[in-house]
């Protein structure tokens, strides 16, 4: 590879162990989404676990926000190259929502208001790896950032953390979601730089 004449770059003092390959740190919180921000009234909002689970489960906003929540501080990594450190979220662990169902599939499709979907292995959302977050920095989650609630899967690129999430459907077969169908990687591990389908 040829060097880029005159490019020195800006060495940041970021701990390299925290920054996945090809990423840079931002202090802002950029917004990315494919369409207009939906605004579902909370009295119409529900959250559903269905699909290959035996009996499905559903919560109203009131019931959902009364579930035991966890507060966690994590780094997040967007496929468009920015990473943001030490973001604090409050949400319900996905394990707690799936508990009490009998999943017979190993895949999940998260689906959202506005029609967005993303697919994940079930194992990537259980055991303390994913939450349905409804607060950010101690405040209700802003619609721009996915409120009233979004999936939070901090160990994968952030498009997997579906904004405006309304449910998880357990599936027996892996079904590509929205960006996955447009050439983005099926799994999206930032530490393996799995940005695009052939990475």
């Amino acid at each position: 590879m040829a060097f880029t004449r005159g490019f020195r770059g800006r060495r940041s003092d970021v701990d390299p162990a925290r920054l996945p390959p090809g990423q840079y740190e931002t202090k802002d919180f950029p917004v990315l989404s494919a369409g207009p921000t939906p605004h579902t009234p909370l009295d119409e909002w529900t959250f559903t676990i269905d699909g290959a689970v035996g009996a499905s489960r559903r919560w109203s906003w009131e019931d959902f926000t009364a579930l035991p929540a966890e507060t966690l501080t994590v780094d997040i990594h967007c496929v468009t190259k920015w990473s943001k450190f030490d973001t604090t979220w409050t949400g319900v662990p996905v394990s707690a929502l799936v508990e009490g169902t009998s999943p017979s599939g190993e895949h999940v499709v998260a689906w959202s208001d506005g029609g967005y979907t993303t697919n994940l292995p079930l194992a990537d959302v259980l055991d303390g790896k994913a939450w349905i977050a409804h607060r950010y920095g101690g405040e209700p989650l802003d619609p721009e950032h996915g409120g009233p609630a979004r999936l939070l899967v901090p160990h994968l690129y952030f498009w997997k953390s579906a904004k405006w999430v309304r449910g998880l459907t357990i599936t027996e077969h892996d079904e590509p979601g929205f960006w996955e169908g447009y050439g983005y990687h099926n799994h999206g591990d930032p530490w393996k730089e799995q940005r695009y389908w052939s990475d």
Partner: protein, 242 residues
């Protein structure tokens, strides 16, 4: 997706803060209007930085063109705008993105709403439309700070004199520039989008690109006007992007 060698063939100033890089890319597979690329710069000591940039050129163009807006304190855009010149090299991969795209022959009017350098992927659509001699009803609303911040100013005036409805709004100007006598001088609002048209229910394909507050507002107004949310495609430039 593999990295390709890219060499700058020409640097074209667009405004005081933006330049177009005309590139020769080894084995470039072609693209669709609206797509973007990733570029990777490598310093002499091996340090690398990656960023994404929208493609400005039509698929029909013999060379790939990227327009880069200089972001104050940016790591990559400052290099590309202040320092890069013909003959310089870096790596590039793509094209990336399959949703925010348009091609000749699609049905429905084409409606483009741009804030600042959000114009870049949208001008690729208009350039493609022209190259393909496509007759689709096409309308563009561009919001910029002042007339001097308008990318591709002469080209937009020429498109507006032709068969594209080109409307401009300047958020920090007192009066319209001579070539756009009907330009507004305020932030984007509902009346502007109504006048841009077409009316909801006409099957328009709407593409909105710009900084987040602009995109949020434009998309919200379009839905409020009665456009189907699924017909409104958005792409954003964050306050970062370097």
């Amino acid at each position: 997706m593999s990295w390709r060698h890219a060499a700058i063939a020409e640097v074209r100033p667009e405004t005081a803060h933006a330049k177009t890089l005309v590139l020769d890319v080894d084995g470039w597979p072609g693209h669709r209007a609206g797509q973007h690329v990733d570029i990777r710069l490598t310093a002499e000591d091996g340090y690398q930085a990656q960023r994404s940039y929208s493609i400005a050129s039509a698929p029909e163009s013999p060379r790939l063109e990227l327009t880069v807006e200089r972001i104050e304190d940016g790591e990559v855009s400052t290099y590309l705008v202040d320092e890069a010149r013909a003959g310089d090299e870096f790596e590039l991969r793509g094209p990336i993105g399959g949703y925010f795209v348009w091609h000749a022959g699609l049905d429905g009017p084409l409606v483009l709403v741009a804030g600042g350098s959000g114009l870049v992927p949208l001008v690729a659509m208009l350039r493609h439309r022209r190259a393909a001699r496509d007759m689709t009803d096409a309308r563009l609303l561009l919001s910029a700070r002042t007339a001097d911040d308008v990318l591709y100013r002469d080209e937009l005036a020429a498109l507006g004199a032709g068969d594209v409805a080109v409307r401009l709004t300047l958020t920090r100007a007192a009066a319209p520039p001579p070539e756009f006598p009907e330009a507004w001088t305020r932030r984007i609002d509902r009346a502007m989008l109504e006048e841009l048209g077409p009316a909801p229910g006409t099957g328009a394909r709407i593409y909105v690109c710009g900084p987040t507050p602009f995109v949020e507002e434009a998309a919200r107004l379009l839905v409020e006007l009665g456009h189907d949310a699924r017909s409104v495609r958005t792409e954003r430039f964050g306050p970062t992007g370097g």
